[in-house]
Assembly symmetry: C2
């Protein structure tokens, strides 16, 4: 069973955070910048990336104050570095930033998978002493800074996955940083995070895409709300999702097997025209959905 | 391949429709009443059902003018009877209404499956001469007249599935009736309708429920938009959906097989850690979703 510690815990209130460098200014990185600037939390927000046009757009949209296409120079005076690149790049970017930033830097990330990143980062001693792995569970099927929002993280869960090597002061600062953007803070082990997210996010994305691929164009005029909502996230970026799937293969394959067995139970009941089995199958699913709705309706500790 | 005739065709504008009897005043029946009354299309809207409390609620909410728990009396002076009961009851209700209503009555329905209903209705000569099978593709995971809306049908597709026995005058009146509520009219064969809806609605509902049943309560705090939107319709009524699944078993089992093969392709690519296959699999799904979005963005002939 998965255990979630500290649900709803909030870090110490963050007064100001100094200089923040954001590596990768897309939907997530851009929203971090917008939130920092709207809330007046940072002295300066520096955007780091390879694409100057995208960085200029981020400045124009108010997500960052200044830009750098040179990571070493970009992080040279950062108090906090937030790595918002695709999951396959995060560990490398974290290690580079840790080696180039000031001694006292906090490096954190926003990746959708955690165990592989944590393992790779912790092989580097300097990176291990500055890094707190984070996953703010917020996003969109859209990508790019133009879809960023200052309120993207408000009320959303942010999971931190510290290890025995994570310095307590960095953990405290990471709590404060993400809580400062509006997140509800959760702490758990990286492996537990990846198992949970396989079920709560990665499996749903795979299911959405499988459904989108199953409904041929000639019947799209006969879709309604169910199709519209279920396939929404199938519009997300292929490179981002290929990377997430590959970074969390084991847990996703396990989640997929669970889903397939639920679907097989439906198939069996329908093949047998078993009214009672179909009714019970649906009611069991409905009860789980109701539990989710009850959770959403519960007041949050914000 | 499925063929859809007359996409976007609209019936002759409906001036007024006289007296309308609605059998089954839940979400759909209630919305028919609300739309008729808001648009001033009917002289009188009579609600017919077995539960007096629900009928009183429908009057109070403005969905119907008067009520009857006696179907024979309720349809005795109806110009149009709209049968909005669960799919397993529709054929029986249509046949009874046809035998009890005036000679010139139009009987139509709002069932989510069509072939079984049409076959059963057409075994009765009187019913065959008055009935036009319809499916306004609109609904909600909620049920009950309290969730009805006068605009539920606006811009939504409504499929008519006439046969060679359907009198042309009744077909014309059915087009006018549903178009009068705001629907885009589509005509196709009942079997083609059921095949299409298995893919566009029934499969998505089964997938939503299978996913809801796969995500255990202890990780619900780590869900985000994908889970929320995909499982929404799993909150729908078990009896309604058990009836729809059973009424459309063959096409749904076929749609399910298609979906399972798409998912198996994902499983294979992930097991093999095949980056290119995963990327292509996602892109193919994304292209279909984009096609849907383009269709939604296209101006409608309303």
């Amino acid at each position: 069973m998965l255990r979630i510690a500290d649900l709803g815990e909030r870090g110490a209130p963050l007064d100001r955070v100094g200089t923040v460098a954001i590596i990768g200014v897309g939907l997530i990185g851009g929203s971090v910048g917008l939130a920092l600037r709207e809330r007046g939390l940072a002295d300066e927000v520096i955007g780091i990336g390879r694409d100057e046009a995208k960085l200029s757009e981020a400045v124009r949209l108010g997500a960052i104050d200044s830009v750098s296409t040179d990571a070493a120079r970009g992080v040279a005076r950062a108090d906090v570095v937030v790595v918002c690149t695709p999951v396959t790049r995060i560990a490398l970017d974290v290690r580079q930033a840790a080696s180039q930033a000031p001694e006292n830097v906090l490096v954190t990330d926003a990746g959708s998978t955690k165990q592989g990143i944590v393992e790779e980062v912790e092989r580097d001693e300097r990176a291990r002493q500055t890094f707190v792995a984070a996953h703010p569970i917020a996003g969109s099927e859209r990508h790019g800074v133009a879809h960023g929002r200052a309120d993207l993280f408000e009320g959303r869960a942010c999971v931190l996955t510290p290890t025995s090597h994570t310095p307590p002061d960095r953990l405290g600062r990471a709590r404060g940083f993400w809580a400062g953007l509006g997140c509800r803070m959760i702490e758990m082990e990286a492996a537990a995070h990846d198992e949970a997210l396989a079920l709560t996010s990665h499996l749903p994305h795979a299911v959405a895409a499988a459904l989108a691929a199953s409904v041929p164009p000639e019947v799209l005029a006969l879709t309604a709300g169910a199709y519209r909502d279920i396939t929404r996230v199938a519009g997300a970026d292929a490179t981002v999702w290929t990377a997430i799937f590959r970074a969390n293969r084991g847990p996703i394959l396990q989640a997929l097997a669970t889903f397939q067995s639920r679907l097989a139970a439906f198939q069996d009941a329908l093949s047998d025209d078993d009214e009672q089995a179909l009714h019970q199958w649906w009611e069991a699913a409905r009860a789980q959905r109701r539990e989710y709705e009850a959770l959403q309706a519960r007041p949050r500790h914000l």
